[in-house]
């Protein structure tokens, strides 16, 4: 009947999958644009506190992260359950923070260095002692833009 049919041998035609790559590519591009690569493996347990005034952090490449919390399961044998500081992929001490900030700052280009900010991701059960020490170290390193990471919520608690 139609021009394209061959002699009517087969009655069942294959499903046309030519558009499958297009669909998959579309999904692929969606994920490629929304993706943020996981930067570090968290070695500490962190349950962030809630805050009603939390704002979205912009310009993520200008942000350095400091994680504080009790070491996660497999690390508790070695490091105990006291809250520890994690910088990049390692457990560090307060004394290492200045070096860390200097390192992060060097990695940026000069125009951005002034805009550098630090985000502290701290478990809500941590005591303020260690956090105060970190804050003092940050002041010494003159990294004065500080962000307390918190989960945005509509009500308190």
């Amino acid at each position: 009947m139609s021009k394209f049919k061959k002699d009517g041998k087969k009655s069942v035609e294959n499903i046309n999958t030519a558009s499958l790559p297009d669909i998959v590519f579309m999904l692929l591009f969606f994920f490629m644009t929304t993706t943020v690569m996981r930067e570090v493996d968290l070695k500490v347990n962190i349950r962030l506190p809630n805050a009603t005034e939390a704002k979205t952090l912009e310009k993520k490449d200008l942000v350095s992260y400091i994680y504080i919390g009790e070491p996660a399961g497999p690390y508790q044998k070695m490091f105990g359950t006291e809250p520890r500081i994690q910088l990049n992929d390692q457990f560090k001490n307060v004394a290492d923070i200045q070096d860390f900030i200097a390192q992060e700052r060097d990695a940026m280009n000069e125009a951005d260095q002034a805009k550098m900010s630090v985000s502290m991701k701290v478990d809500s059960k941590t005591k303020m002692g260690v956090i105060s020490d970190v804050k003092l170290a940050l002041r010494r390193a003159s990294a004065l833009k500080l962000n307390y990471a918190a989960v945005k919520s509509e009500t308190l608690e």
Partner: protein
């Protein structure tokens, strides 16, 4: 031999390749956005710099203390954390011009003209080394919320839109209208411990 063959390129494997990439991005993706409270830290004071001469008067300071049991002492009275926002709002705005709340003065501000607003209210926050971070952050949040709510109110009153939607000049004007400085004292270590 003479017959020309026009075979299309086999694109069947394209889907496979794309799937492979797709799965890679699916696995590595994290959708959560980082949110948090933006706060500044004061720079380390210069040793050679002269001590600030003008003493801040007591009525201009709102003292919030948190002890190691996460209890609040606000202006020397215990307070529930849920009341902090209202009382901080009262302090920053001083709507009834009370004499135990910050001194008010006439100020010239763009868009508003001459207004009678509190002059440099300071919020002083002091915590113990044993205070939990969760409580500390809620207090910070409430103090920030007090200021944000006031700014939002005045913005809605004057411009009819929210503070966040104002352009920069207007935001700065509103900032001048209600301003407060947060000063954090070095934490006390009462009762020892880390």
């Amino acid at each position: 031999m003479a017959k020309r063959e026009l075979t299309p390129i086999n694109a069947g494997s394209m889907a496979d390749i794309a799937f492979l990439l797709l799965i890679f991005f699916l696995v590595t993706t994290t959708m959560d956005v980082d949110t948090g409270l933006m706060r500044g830290l004061p720079p380390i004071p210069d040793k050679d710099a002269p001590e600030p001469q003008d003493k801040i008067r007591e009525r201009n300071v709102f003292v919030v203390k948190i002890n190691k049991f996460d209890q609040l002492l606000v202006e020397n009275k215990p307070m529930d954390i849920h009341d902090l926002r209202e009382s901080a709002k009262d302090f920053i705005a001083n709507p009834e011009d009370k004499d135990n709340l910050p001194q008010k003065d006439y100020k010239e501000i763009d868009f508003f003209g001459r207004v009678y607003v509190p002059k440099n209210p300071v919020i002083s926050l002091q915590n113990d080394r044993g205070t939990s971070y969760g409580t500390y952050l809620i207090v910070q949040n409430e103090l920030l919320a007090a200021k944000n709510e006031l700014r939002n109110d005045i913005s809605l009153q004057t411009f009819g839109i929210k503070y966040d939607d104002l352009d920069e000049d207007k935001q700065n004007a509103v900032k001048k209208y209600y301003s407060s400085v947060l000063s954090e004292a070095e934490p006390k270590n009462i009762g020892g411990g880390k």
